[in-house]
C-alpha cells in the first residue's frame, strides 16, 4: 500500500503542473450576496464554496462541464472552455428572474441519502449501460441474466424492483405491464445526469421505500456540440452513437441516436468447463429529439424518443442442458415528454409534466418452452401521465402541492399454459400530495439549524378494484454549526404500491385473485457530511413491509405472484467519496449491510425468519478515477455476498458471493478538427465465475474499445 501511495503522490505532482486553475464565485442572482456551501459538481469530483462564496479547484482538460447547486436555488450547468474566474448567479426557488437558465437537477436531499453522477465522456466510454454507474450507489442491487441486452433491474434495500421508481425527465418510466424498468435500455450516450434517492425527499415529494433513480436528458445549459462515439468489444458487440446539440439564443435543439448490434455471444463457466453461448441476436436502435425554449418566466422542453429493440433472452443453463436460447423479445416504443416550468411574480413556481408513450412488445419462443401454440405472445401498452406541482418558497419555507394522474392500458394475446388468452385491461390511477419543508427553524441566520419536512399523499387506483390509500412521511434534519459539516436526519414514512398488470394477470391464471397492495413503513436515521474534500453518509433503515409481492414457482414452468404477508428489511449503508488530489484522483466507496427477512409466522413454514431470496447481506463497491494529463484510468469493483434462492435458506440452494472488477484506461487527444478520446475497458478483469441469478452464468472477461470524437 505504501508503494501505491507513493505512486499516487508522484502522479499528483506530475499531473498538477498540467492542470488549470478555476475559480468559481457563486452568488444569489437577486441580492448578489455570496452563497456559502454551494455545491460544484464536475466529472472529477465535488467542491463547496467557502464563507466567501468562492471555490477554487483545478481541472485536467478543457472543455468540461460543472453543475452548481444549492438547496434553496435552482441548479445551473456551466460549460468551461478554459481556466479563469467564473461568476455563477443562482436563482432562488421563489423568485422570478427573466431568462432563467436552470437544469432539471433537484437540489440535495435534506432528509435522506442521495447521489448524483454527471455523465461525461469517460463514463460514456467505460459503460455499456447505466448499471455500472448505479452500482456506485449504496443500497442498490442489480439483477441481471447475462448477455448484451439482457434484462437488468434495480432494487433497493431488499425490496422488489417494482418498488423502485425510475424517472426520465421527471416522468415515471417503469413499464406499464411489469412495473419494471430495464436498465439495459438506457445507455449513457442518451442521458446527461443520473441521480439516486433513498428514503424520503419532501423537496420533491418522494417517499418510496424502494428508492428512486432519475435520469435527465436535454439539460438547459448543455453547450452546443457534435459528439460521435464508437464502441466494439471482444464478443462482437458494436455500437455507434451520435449527439448533436445546437443552442440558438433562448432555444436549444438536441438530437441523440444510438445503434447497438451484438450476436449476444459470450463465454461462461459451468459444470467445470468454460463454454460459449450465443443467444438470439441483439439489435437496438434509439433516437431522441429534445427541444427547449426559455423566455421571460417560462421554460418549456419537449422530448421525443423512439426505440426499437430485438433481443435474445438468455436461457438458463442446467445439468445436461446447455442449449442456446432461441427465445427473442422485441419492443418498439414511442415516448413524448413535455416539461414546463412557470415562475409567477408572486413567487409561485408551477411545474407541469406530461408524457404519452406506447409500446408494442412480442415474445417469440420457437421451442415453445414458455408459450404454447404459436409460440408467440404479443402485448401492447399505452401510458399517459400528467403531473402538476405548485411550489412556493419564502425565507426557508417551501410548500408544494400537486396532482398526478396516470392512465395505462394493456392488450395481450397469446397462449400461456391453459389456453389462448386475449386480454385488454386498463387502469386509472392518480394521487394528490402536499409537501412542506421548513429550513433553519431555530437558527435562521446561520447555516445550522433544524429542518423539517412533511409529505402527505393519497393514491387511487381502479384496478383490480377501486382502492384508495394514504401515505404520510415526515423528516427532521439537524445541522449543528459546531459539528459542521455533519448533518443528522431521521425520517418515517408510510407508502403503498398497487399490483402491476403482470402481477394481477399471472396471479389470476391459477385462480389466485386475492393479490393486494403492498405497504411499507420505513424508519431511517443517518448522518451525512459534504465538504470540498470528502463526502460521507451513514444511514440505518428499518422497513416493515405488509403484503410484499414475490414471484414463486407454481407447477413446473410458470411463476405466480403472491403476497408474503410480513417482511422486515433493515440494514446499514455507508458511502464515502474523496478527491485527495482534486482533478487527479477521485475515490468512492460504499458498503451495504442488509437483512431482509420473512416475518410471516407459520409453524409449518420454514421460510419464517429467513432471508428473502436474492438479497445479499453484504455489498461493497469501490471506484477510483485517476487522471494523469491526457491519460485517464477508471477502476470499478463490486462485491455482492452470498444469496439464497430458496425461501428456507437451505445451504444447498445458495449462490456464492462474487467480486467483479472492471478496469479502463484511455487517452484524450486532438484528431483532425476534433477532441478525441480512445479507451480500452476490461470487463470482469479477474475472470470471476459467478451467478447473479441461479442458472444464468455471467460472462467471463471481455475487452471493449471506445472512440469518442467531439467535433469542434
Amino acid at each position: 500500500m505504501n508503494n501505491f501511495l507513493r505512486f499516487a503522490v508522484l502522479i499528483f505532482f506530475l499531473a498538477s503542473g498540467l492542470q488549470a486553475q478555476i475559480t468559481v464565485s457563486v452568488i444569489d442572482s437577486s441580492t448578489s450576496s455570496n452563497l456559502v456551501n454551494a455545491e460544484i459538481l464536475f466529472p472529477q469530483g465535488r467542491f463547496f464554496t467557502n464563507s466567501e462564496g468562492v471555490a477554487e479547484f483545478q481541472v485536467p482538460t478543457f472543455p468540461t462541464d460543472i453543475i452548481v447547486s444549492h438547496t434553496s436555488y435552482h441548479s445551473r450547468q456551466i460549460h468551461l472552455k478554459s481556466a479563469g474566474i467564473y461568476i455563477v448567479r443562482l436563482q432562488p426557488l421563489s423568485l422570478n428572474i427573466p431568462l432563467i437558465t436552470v437544469t432539471a437537477v433537484q437540489p440535495g436531499n435534506l432528509f435522506g441519502s442521495s447521489g448524483r453522477v454527471l455523465i461525461d465522456d469517460k463514463i460514456r466510454s467505460v459503460t455499456r449501460d447505466i448499471s455500472t454507474v448505479i452500482n456506485r450507489f449504496s443500497g442498490t442491487y442489480i439483477k441481471e441474466y447475462g448477455g448484451s441486452g439482457s434484462l437488468k433491474t434495480i432494487s433497493f434495500r431488499g425490496l422488489s424492483s417494482e418498488n423502485t421508481e425510475v424517472l426520465f425527465n421527471e416522468i415515471n418510466i417503469n413499464d406499464a405491464a411489469t412495473g419494471l424498468a430495464d436498465l439495459s435500455d438506457h445507455s449513457a450516450n442518451m442521458i446527461d445526469i443520473l441521480e439516486m434517492q433513498h428514503g424520503i425527499s419532501p423537496e420533491d415529494g418522494f417517499a418510496g421505500a424502494g428508492g428512486r433513480i432519475k435520469m435527465t436528458s436535454g439539460l438547459w445549459d448543455t453547450p452546443s456540440h457534435t459528439r460521435i462515439s464508437l464502441k466494439a468489444d471482444s464478443d462482437q458487440l458494436f455500437s455507434s452513437a451520435l449527439s448533436l446539440r445546437k443552442n440558438m439564443g433562448s432555444y436549444f435543439l438536441e438530437i441523440n441516436a444510438e445503434n447497438v448490434n451484438s450476436p449476444n455471444r459470450y463465454s461462461y463457466f459451468f459444470d467445470g468447463q468454460t463454454r460459449t453461448r450465443e443467444n438470439a441476436f441483439l439489435n437496438k436502435k434509439q433516437f431522441s429529439i429534445s427541444a427547449g425554449k426559455s423566455y421571460e418566466s417560462n421554460l418549456t422542453r419537449i422530448y421525443l424518443k423512439y426505440s426499437d429493440k430485438i433481443n435474445g433472452l438468455p436461457g438458463f443453463v442446467v445439468s445436461n442442458n446447455y442449449d442456446w436460447s432461441k427465445t427473442r423479445s422485441g419492443s418498439e416504443t414511442r415516448m413524448l415528454i413535455l416539461n414546463n416550468y412557470h415562475y409567477f411574480d408572486s413567487g409561485l413556481i408551477n411545474s407541469f409534466s406530461f408524457s404519452a408513450s406506447g409500446s408494442k412488445l412480442f415474445l417469440a419462443d420457437p421451442d415453445r418452452r414458455m408459450i404454447s401454440g404459436s409460440g408467440e405472445k404479443k402485448t401492447s401498452t399505452s401510458d399517459l401521465r400528467i403531473q402538476n406541482k405548485l411550489e412556493f418558497g419564502l425565507e426557508g419555507t417551501k410548500l408544494s402541492a400537486g396532482l398526478n394522474l396516470a392512465k395505462a392500458e394493456l392488450n395481450s394475446s397469446g397462449e400461456i399454459f391453459s389456453a389462448y388468452r386475449s386480454d385488454s385491461i386498463d387502469r386509472l390511477s392518480g394521487g394528490f400530495f402536499i409537501n412542506a419543508v421548513f429550513e433553519h427553524i431555530f437558527e435562521k441566520e446561520t447555516d445550522g439549524g433544524i429542518n423539517a419536512g412533511l409529505i402527505f399523499e393519497t393514491e387511487y387506483a381502479d384496478f383490480p378494484e377501486k382502492t384508495s390509500v394514504n401515505g404520510v412521511s415526515a423528516g427532521l434534519s439537524y445541522s449543528p454549526r459546531y459539528l459542521s459539516p455533519f448533518r443528522f436526519y431521521t425520517t418515517y414514512s408510510i407508502d403503498n404500491r398497487f399490483p402491476t398488470f403482470n402481477e394481477i394477470y399471472y396471479a389470476s391464471l391459477f385462480n389466485h385473485t386475492g393479490l393486494t397492495r403492498e405497504q411499507f413503513k420505513t424508519f431511517e436515521a443517518g448522518i451525512s457530511a459534504r465538504t470540498s474534500s470528502y463526502d460521507l453518509e451513514i444511514s440505518y433503515f428499518n422497513i416493515l413491509g405488509d403484503g410484499l409481492i414475490v414471484w414463486t414457482p407454481f407447477r413446473a414452468i410458470i411463476q405466480v405472484p403472491r403476497n408474503i404477508r410480513t417482511v422486515r428489511s433493515y440494514g446499514l449503508e455507508v458511502s464515502a467519496s474523496s478527491s485527495p488530489f482534486p482533478g487527479t484522483l477521485r475515490l468512492g466507496a460504499n458498503y451495504t449491510w442488509l437483512n431482509a427477512i420473512n416475518k410471516t409466522g407459520n409453524d409449518n413454514d420454514n421460510a419464517y425468519n429467513k432471508r428473502l431470496i436474492y438479497t445479499p447481506s453484504h455489498k461493497v463497491s469501490l471506484n477510483a478515477e485517476l487522471i494523469f494529463g491526457r491519460i485517464f484510468t477508471i477502476l470499478d469493483l463490486m462485491y455482492a455476498g452470498s444469496r439464497y434462492y430458496t425461501a428456507d435458506n437451505d445451504s444447498h440452494n445458495k449462490l456464492k458471493g462474487y467480486l467483479v472488477t472492471d478496469f479502463s484506461a484511455g487517452i484524450n487527444f486532438p484528431l483532425l478538427s476534433s477532441n478525441a478520446s480512445a479507451s480500452l475497458t476490461v470487463y470482469n478483469l479477474l475472470n470471476a465465475q459467478y451467478f447473479v441469478i441461479q442458472s444464468y452464468p455471467m460472462p467471463l472477461r471481455n475487452y471493449s474499445f471506445t472512440l469518442n470524437l467531439n467535433l469542434i
Binding site: 438458463f316 445439468s319 414463486t552 413454514d605 453484504h618 452470498s642 430458496t646 437451505d650
Partner: protein, 349 residues
C-alpha cells in the same frame, strides 16, 4: 490510511462462506424414495430417502453419493425396476439411472436438446417408455444400451404414461387445451387409437385389472372442472367417469379405492362404480396450510399409509405427511424442494 484499513476489514467480513453439508450415504432396505423436483431452471432436483424402520429421512442422497453433483433440473418422475431407479429429469433432457444399493449414477439416457422426459414406465430391466413434454413424442427406451428404440408423435404436451395389454397409453395434457389419450403399439410405436376424455389429462393410474384410470385436471378457469375416466384397455373405450371440480390432480390406488386430490383435499373413489365420496378424507389445508396444494400422492401397502407431498410455498423444502386410511395424520418427514413423486421401495415385498 485509516480508510484503507477500514475497507480491508469489510472485505474480510464479507468473504466468509458457510460450507455446504454433504448428506451421508444411505443403503435402503424398506422406505420411501421421494423425487423432489426442485425449482424449474434452478438445477436443484434431489432425492430424499425415508427409512421406514428407523424413521429417518435423508435428503440429497443422489448428490451425496455422486461427488456433490446435482440430480439435475426438474426431476419429474421415477420408476423402479429391481434395485434400479429410472428418473425422468425433464429440463436436463436426461433419464438418470440410479443404483438403489448405493445411489450412485449408473449413467444417463441423453434425450437431446428439447427432449424433456416427463413421465416414464419401466416394463422390464431392458425396456421403458417415456413421454417427451416439449417435443410431443413418446419414446421406447433400450435401458441396457441407454438409447431410444423408436419415437412416435403424440398429442400436445404429453405427460402421464402407462402400459397395459401390449399397448402404451399417453395422456396428452395440452397444458389444459387437449382432451385425448393416445394409444400405441409397444412393439413398433404405431398409433392404435386416440381416446377422447376430459380436458388436461395428466395422470394415468394402472390397477392391472383391465382398466386404466385417467385423471383430467381440467382448465385453470376458477372452477377447474375435471374428472377421472375409466378406460378399458382392450376395447379402448371410456366405460365410466366421474366429474370433479377443483382441478383434480394426483392419484393412486389403495387396496380398495382410487384416491384423487383436488383443491379441497384427497377424495376416495369406488373404482367399480366410479362414485366419489362427498367429503375429503384428508383436507388440502391439512397437508399444505400455505396454498392448500397436494403435490404428490402414494400408498404404502405394507404400513397401510397414505403419503401426501406438501410443497409448502414451492420455494422451500417440502415434506411428506403420512395418514392412515381414515385420513388421520400419523407422522411426517422433511424432503427437498417440491416433492412431486413418491415411490414405496422394499427390496422384497
Amino acid at each position: 490510511m485509516k480508510k484503507l484499513i477500514l475497507l480491508s476489514f469489510v472485505f474480510v467480513i464479507v468473504s466468509c462462506e458457510t460450507p455446504v453439508e454433504t448428506p451421508p450415504l444411505v443403503i435402503p432396505e424398506f422406505g420411501y424414495i421421494v423425487v423432489n423436483e426442485g425449482v424449474y431452471g434452478q438445477n436443484n432436483s434431489s432425492i430424499t430417502f425415508y427409512d421406514v424402520n428407523t424413521g429417518l429421512a435423508t435428503n440429497n442422497v443422489f448428490s451425496g453419493a455422486n461427488s456433490g453433483n446435482p440430480l439435475g433440473d426438474t426431476a419429474n418422475d421415477l420408476d423402479v425396476f429391481g434395485s434400479t431407479a429410472y428418473i425422468a429429469v425433464d429440463n436436463s433432457n436426461k433419464i438418470e439411472i440410479v443404483d438403489l444399493n448405493t445411489y450412485k449414477s449408473k449413467g444417463i439416457i441423453d434425450m437431446g436438446p428439447g427432449g424433456s422426459p416427463r413421465e416414464l414406465v419401466v416394463t422390464s430391466s431392458k425396456t421403458g417408455f417415456v413421454t417427451s413434454l416439449l417435443s410431443n413424442k413418446v419414446h421406447k427406451l433400450d435401458l441396457i444400451n441407454k438409447s431410444i428404440v423408436w419415437s412416435a408423435e403424440t398429442g400436445a404436451y404429453p405427460e402421464g404414461i402407462t402400459q397395459s395389454a401390449g399397448k402404451i397409453f399417453v395422456a396428452n395434457s395440452g397444458f389444459g387445451a387437449s382432451n385425448t389419450l393416445s394409444v400405441f403399439d409397444t412393439l413398433n410405436g404405431n398409433k392404435i387409437s386416440d381416446i377422447q376424455i376430459g380436458f388436461n389429462p395428466r395422470v394415468l393410474v394402472n390397477r392391472n385389472d383391465g382398466y386404466i384410470y385417467a385423471v383430467c385436471t381440467g382448465v385453470y378457469d376458477g372452477i377447474g372442472k375435471g374428472g377421472v375416466y375409466k378406460i378399458n384397455t382392450s376395447t379402448l373405450v371410456s366405460v365410466d367417469s366421474v366429474l370433479i371440480d377443483g382441478n383434480p390432480g394426483e392419484a393412486c390406488f389403495t387396496d380398495s379405492h382410487l384416491l384423487v386430490t383436488n383443491s379441497l383435499g384427497v377424495f376416495r373413489i369406488e373404482p367399480d362404480n366410479m362414485s366419489i365420496e362427498t367429503e375429503a378424507i384428508i383436507s388440502a389445508s391439512t397437508v399444505n396450510p400455505i396454498y392448500g396444494i397436494i403435490y404428490a400422492l402414494a400408498y404404502d401397502p405394507v404400513e397401510k399409509l397414505i403419503l401426501a407431498g406438501n410443497p409448502k410455498d414451492f420455494i422451500q423444502n417440502g415434506e411428506i405427511i403420512k395418514f392412515d386410511l381414515n385420513g388421520k395424520k400419523t407422522g411426517s418427514f422433511d424432503t427437498g424442494l417440491n416433492p412431486g413423486t413418491i415411490a414405496v421401495y422394499k427390496k422384497k415385498f
